[in-house]
């Protein structure tokens, strides 16, 4: 069954690039939903049936770590895979995200192959 994917990033360019990569990956992606920050992301999570999340960490209003924490605290969303896509390559924030229940992370800049590989590791490969 196709998964609806939520992309949360304050950069429209990164959202577009990720969207293109996900469509090209041909891994059974359904609707692609976008949000500008964690707060908008939570609104989309509530309104849609999201099956997979890609989220930036460093965002205004609500950052990716707080967003992740709120997703994991909600019984309806606690099993939804969340992949962090971030320039925050420092072990500190990445380790924090993984401890908080992130399913993995992709460092910016990224290649389409890296995104496809990450989809494979979380069980979304074609």
């Amino acid at each position: 069954m196709a998964l609806d994917v939520l992309i949360v990033d304050d950069s429209a360019a990164i959202r577009k690039i990720l969207q293109r990569v996900l469509v090209q990956a041909n891994v059974g992606i359904g609707k692609i939903i976008e949000a500008n920050d964690g707060r908008e992301g939570l609104e989309r999570m509530t309104a849609e049936n999201v099956g997979l999340v890609f989220s930036d960490i460093n965002m205004p209003n609500m950052d990716g770590l707080e967003f992740l924490q709120l997703i994991r605290a909600n019984p309806n969303w606690k099993n939804v895979p969340v992949v962090m896509v971030t320039t925050e390559g420092s072990q500190d924030k990445v380790f924090q995200a993984l401890q908080m229940g992130a399913s993995g992370y992709v460092k910016k800049p990224f290649t389409p192959e890296q995104i496809r590989e990450k989809l494979g590791t979380i069980g979304c490969a074609a």
Binding site: A12, A13, T87, E88, G89, K108, P109, T111
Partner: protein, 173 residues
């Protein structure tokens, strides 16, 4: 912070971002150091600041025509013809990735650092005065038929706060 090492980190980060996100090879020019006010500029400047025990700023200077080409490459869109929100956003994200990766590499020596949300300035005949009183490393890159220039400085927090650090945009038209 060693200038030669800073230049190398900027080089590595920029080449990686250009290659992976835009599919284009950049060529690094001759780096130099700059202090005092910058020359009048027309185009786009994207600024990202770094904070922690060390503080500083990275900025990317790019003319409008080059910004259009880089955005087109990044979004795989050959219809990008005017500097709009998409272009400013793409230039902000380029700065975020390039400076962010430099920051990550610096953390091995300097400890944990934080990155700001990027700020983008677009206009004609202005000076972006940032890191006032600080010596900045300047690294030009030839890419996609134009020159993109990266300016960077980082200092221990106490030195970074001495004098006027805050960025100023001055219209000199």
């Amino acid at each position: 912070m060693n200038t030669q090492k800073t230049v190398e980190l900027i080089r590595q980060s920029t080449l990686e971002v250009m290659s992976m996100m835009l599919g284009v090879q950049a060529e690094v020019g001759e780096p130099y150091e700059e202090s005092g006010t910058t020359e009048t500029f027309s185009g786009i400047v994207s600024l990202v600041s770094i904070s922690g025990d060390w503080a500083g700023m990275g900025s990317i200077y790019c003319g409008s025509e080059l910004a259009l080409r880089l955005t087109g490459m990044m979004l795989l869109d050959d219809q990008v013809s005017t500097v709009n929100d998409d272009v400013l956003d793409a230039m902000a994200e380029l700065a975020n990735m390039i400076v962010g990766n430099v920051k990550t590499m610096l953390e091995a020596d300097l400890g944990p650092l934080s990155l700001s949300i990027p700020t983008v300035i677009y206009g004609r005949n202005y000076r972006a005065l940032h890191g006032i009183g600080k010596t900045r490393v300047v690294v030009p890159f030839e890419v996609a038929g134009g020159t993109m220039t990266i300016k960077f400085y980082i200092l221990p927090q106490a030195s970074a706060n001495r004098g006027r650090q805050t960025g100023v945009v001055q219209n000199v038209a």
